[in-house]
Amino acid sequence: MRDAESLIDAMASQLRDLLAERGIAEPMLVGIHTGGVWIAERLRQRLGVAAPLGQLDISFYRDDFSRIGVNRRVRPSELPFDVDDRHLVLVDDVLNTGRTVRAALNELFDYGRPASVLLAVLVDRGGRELPIEAQVVGARLKLPVDQEVQLTGPELLQLIIQQTTP
């Protein structure tokens, strides 16, 4: 078990530098349900972003619908701002295959045409199956395939590494 707050501090500092380097003054943060939303909200506070948080539930965009069907716990996606020509920061807890991010990008573009999208993740555990990389990474972990990393929250954010249940 590992406290996530120090990793989010690291993310915030990387993100601040990156935004300054790219001259982005007003980023819009978009969290991917569920863990990504918790982290995005903390980043928003640390960076002092005034704009409200965007939230994406990518259940209807998954590439494995014909294998697993609808996620029973799907929630509404909500982007309380105009996406057109905005600089977005997409936030997720764990980056693994890249398929979730692919789905999230597809969903974002159904709202409009952003000027740019950055990807910020708490943990990059490798294992990519798609050409997707994060620009902001809290921690890089090398894990055996039969282990999974999970974020618990929302009050106390903790990373749990455990054996995958078969």
Binding site: R67, G69, V70, P76
Partner: protein, 326 residues
């Protein structure tokens, strides 16, 4: 096996949607919650999700319909499915082809879902029992029996305005006897634990032993509408009436029609619903139908999200793990 059980797989998940009767509260809240997630899609620039991309949905309408047919069509399109609508009353049925032959032919066109409306009770279930196992069947209204997607969009609309179901008083007014909408709605409200469900109608428009459905019966609207949170008006289905169940439409309006005066008996924040099409001046006064408490057009809009939810849930439950082919 009854339609209730036939529509579920061995894990109790919905494979078809034929009737609300006998489903669990969780089945219904899953549909409502999924519909809630789909509701915002229509506000976006691209009003479409990729969920059913590559699937083919066939609307089989053996009976006329405008709202139900078009909202099913839109629901399928917004999920990126390909949609075909057959108005069979005007095609092969006239040429003497049997229902099963029609079915086999459409099945041969590799479709994944049938949406069925038919004047015979039990038609959707009959089709579900005869199609190939990978096809999901949705009941879009069968005879006097059931109209489950309408019931779900009705309870979805109610929940958005009045989420406190245990303290809810719903009055369903008018032609209960011929109404598959009423039957399905009563089941859905009971499953969701609605406080009190009332039916308000003349004796001639009530089915025998209607109390056994779990409703209170009122013959007098001045009693039945009192303190209601939700007033559901039903269409007077003259086309299904045999003999003289009613004196005249004018007399029905005088005794049961929803006017502003009658609506004043309900709670001040009561909402007014109607499955459509409305007969102005028969069951509802225009001032009420177009008034501030009417959510009739909202029901139409909600019908799209609710049907999207039911389509994606049932087709999703036909999903197969990797490597397993049809």
């Amino acid at each position: 096996m009854s339609a209730t059980h036939f529509q579920l797989d061995q894990q109790g998940r919905l494979l078809h949607f034929l009737t609300v009767e006998g489903l669990s509260r969780r089945h219904l809240t899953d549909i409502l919650d999924t519909a809630e997630s789909l509701h915002g899609v229509a506000e976006r620039r691209v009003k479409k999700l990729p969920t059913l991309h590559g699937k083919t949905v066939v609307n089989l309408f053996f009976e006329a319909s405008t709202r139900t047919r078009t909202t099913f069509e839109l629901a399928a399109k917004r999920l990126s499915a390909d949609v075909l609508t057959l108005n069979i009353a005007t095609s092969s049925a006239v040429k003497g082809e049997t229902l099963l032959d029609t079915l086999r032919n459409i099945e041969a066109m590799q479709c994944d879902m049938f949406v069925v409306r038919h004047q015979q009770s039990g038609a959707a279930e009959f089709i579900a029992r005869h199609v190939r196992p990978h096809i999901a069947v949705l009941n879009a209204g069968d005879g006097r029996h059931a109209h489950p997607t309408q019931a779900m969009l009705d309870v979805f609309t109610i929940r958005r305005h009045k989420p406190d179901f245990p303290n809810l008083q719903v009055a369903i007014v008018g032609d209960i006897l011929h109404s598959r909408v009423a039957r399905s709605l009563i089941h859905a409200l009971n499953i969701l634990g609605a406080g009190e469900i009332r039916v308000v109608a003349p004796r001639t428009l009530l089915p025998a032993q209607v109390e056994t459905l779990g409703v209170r019966v009122f013959y007098d609207p001045s009693q039945g509408l009192r303190d209601a949170d939700v007033v559901v008006m039903l269409r007077l289905q003259r086309e299904r009436m045999e003999g003289a169940l009613l004196p005249t439409e004018q007399e029905f309006f005088q005794r049961y029609g929803l006017t502003e005066d009658r609506l004043a008996l309900a709670r001040p924040d009561a909402i007014v619903m109607h499955p459509g099409p409305i007969n102005r001046g028969v069951e509802i006064d225009s001032r009420v139908a177009d008034g501030p408490r009417s959510v009739i057009l909202e029901q139409v809009t909600n019908g799209i999200a609710v049907r999207m939810a039911i389509m994606s849930i049932t087709l999703g439950n036909h999903a197969r793990p990797a490597g397993e082919s049809l």
